[in-house]
Symmetry: C2
Subunit: 253 residues, 2 copies
C-alpha cells in the first residue's frame, strides 16, 4: 500500500505543508518520488509519522525528535525524564505567574479606585456621621445603642490600633477578592475561615450577636457607599461577603 500526500494527511491529520516541511528537513522522507515528482509514502512512514506526532504532542522540538527516533529505548527514557523536569519547571513558573496576576489585579483595583476616589470605610468622620444617621433611621434605637458602644470603644484607640484594623480589613478583603476570582463558594471552608477573621475584626467595634452580624449585611446591601467601598476590591464582593456572612452567622453564632 502506498499513500499520496493527501491520503497521508487524512490518515494523520497533519497538513500537506507539514509533510513537505518534514521532507525538507529530513525528518520524514517519502518512500519514493514518482517520475512526476509526486511523493509517495509507505506503511512504515505512517507509523513513523505517528511517532513523530506523539513526541511533538509532548512538546519536543523537531530537531530533538530527529535524535530521539534514532535512539534506543534506554536513551528515550532518559530524554523523557529530562523532559519531565522541564515540564515541571514550566508548570511551576506558570503557577507563580498566576499568583502574580492575582496580586496585580488587586493592585489595579486598589490603586485605581482607592486612591482617586479616596474612599475608606469607617475612617472618614463626615461619612461616618451619615451612616449613623442612616442606621438610626432604619433600625432605630437598637442601632443607636450599637453606635454608642462602638464610639465608647474606639475612643480609646490610638493610631496604631486604627491602622491595625484598617490593614487587617484591607488584607482580608483582598484575599476574599482572590477567592471570588477562584470561583469559591461563600460557604466554602476557605472563605468561611476569612469570614471568621472578619467577624473577629468587627467584634472590636461592637458586640456582635447573630442578628447584628446579619444586620450588617443589610446595611452593606442598602447603603450605596458600602457598595462603592466593596467594589474597590471586587465587583461581586458585596453580594459575596453578604452571603458568606449570613452563612457564617447561621452556622456559628
Amino acid at each position: 500500500m502506498r499513500y499520496s500526500v493527501k491520503q497521508l494527511t487524512k490518515l494523520s491529520g497533519v497538513s500537506v505543508r507539514t509533510l513537505h516541511w518534514y521532507d525538507q528537513i529530513g525528518l520524514l522522507k517519502p518512500d519514493f518520488y514518482a517520475v512526476n515528482g509526486y511523493r509517495y509514502y509507505a506503511e512504515k512512514d505512517l507509523l513513523l509519522l505517528q511517532q513523530i506526532l506523539f513526541f511533538k504532542e509532548l512538546g519536543f522540538p523537531l530537531k530533538e525528535i530527529q535524535k530521539l527516533l534514532s535512539m534506543d529505548g534506554f536513551d528515550q527514557i532518559k530524554a523523557l525524564q529530562a523532559h519531565k523536569v522541564f515540564l515541571g519547571s514550566e508548570i511551576e513558573r506558570k503557577n507563580k505567574l498566576l499568583e502574580t496576576i492575582d496580586k496585580t489585579i488587586l493592585h489595579l483595583r486598589g490603586t485605581e479606585k482607592m486612591t482617586d476616589k479616596e474612599l475608606y470605610y469607617g475612617f472618614d468622620s463626615d461619612r461616618q456621621k451619615e451612616y449613623e444617621q442612616y442606621l438610626v433611621k432604619s433600625y432605630g434605637h437598637e442601632a443607636e445603642q450599637l453606635l454608642v458602644e462602638s464610639k465608647k470603644r474606639t475612643a480609646k484607640w490610638d493610631k496604631d490600633e486604627w491602622d491595625d484594623v484598617k490593614n487587617k480589613g484591607d488584607a482580608l478583603h483582598k484575599d476574599l477578592a482572590v477567592m471570588i476570582d477562584q470561583d469559591l463558594k461563600p460557604s466554602s471552608p476557605e472563605v468561611q475561615k476569612l469570614i471568621h477573621a472578619h467577624y473577629e475584626l468587627q467584634n472590636r467595634f461592637y458586640d456582635l450577636t447573630k442578628e447584628v452580624y446579619i444586620g450588617l449585611t443589610k446595611l452593606y446591601a442598602e447603603h450605596p457607599d458600602f457598595r462603592k467601598f466593596f467594589d474597590v476590591y471586587h465587583p461581586d464582593m458585596i453580594e459575596f461577603i453578604g452571603e458568606a456572612m449570613r452563612f457564617y452567622a447561621e452556622q456559628n453564632l
Copy 2:
C-alpha cells in the same frame, strides 16, 4: 535626566537590539532622536519599559502589550483574568503530558527489556528451579517448606489464575515505578497501599509471616535474577520495594 541606549539597557536589563526593536514596532519610542541619530530616553520611558517587561513576564505577546498599555485599569483587569484562564489551561495540559510521559516510560521499559529478555518472574520453570536451589542452600529447611507449600497451592491453579497473578503483579510494579519517579518515599501512604496489595498477592503463594516477608526482600537483594526482573520496571525498584516491604512488615505484621 536623559538616558542613552546603553544606560537604559543597564537600568532595565534588556539588550540594545530589544530597544531598537521596540522602537521599530512602536512599542517604546525614545524621548527624542539627536541630530546624529542617537536615541535618548526620558524617565517616563524607563517606567514604561518596566511596565512592558512586567507584562512580558506574564507571557503576553508584544502586540497585546501595546493594547494593554493604552487600556484603563478596568480593561487591564479583564485582560489579566483572561490570561489567567489561558495559563490555567496550559498548566492543565502540561500536567496531562507529564502523565503521558510516565505511561510511556513504563511502556518503553516494559516492551524493551521484557520482550527481548523474556524474563518473567516465577513463570519459567527452569529458572524456578534455580531459585529453589538457591533458597534451600541459603535458608535451609524453612525455605524448603515454603516451597513445598507454594507448589501445593499453585498446582491447583489454572491459566486464568496464573494470568491474574501475573497481571496484577505487573500493574503493581508499574505503579510503584511511577511513584519512584515522583520521589515518593517507601514509607509514604501511597506506596504502602500498593505494598499491601503486594503482600496479599504474595500470600497466594505462601503463608507470609512477618519474617518470611522480610526474608523475601533478602532473596530479592541477593539473587541477580531478581535484580534483573525489577530493573525492568525501574533501576531503583529493587532497593525501593525492599525498603517498602520491610516498613510494611514492621508496621502491620
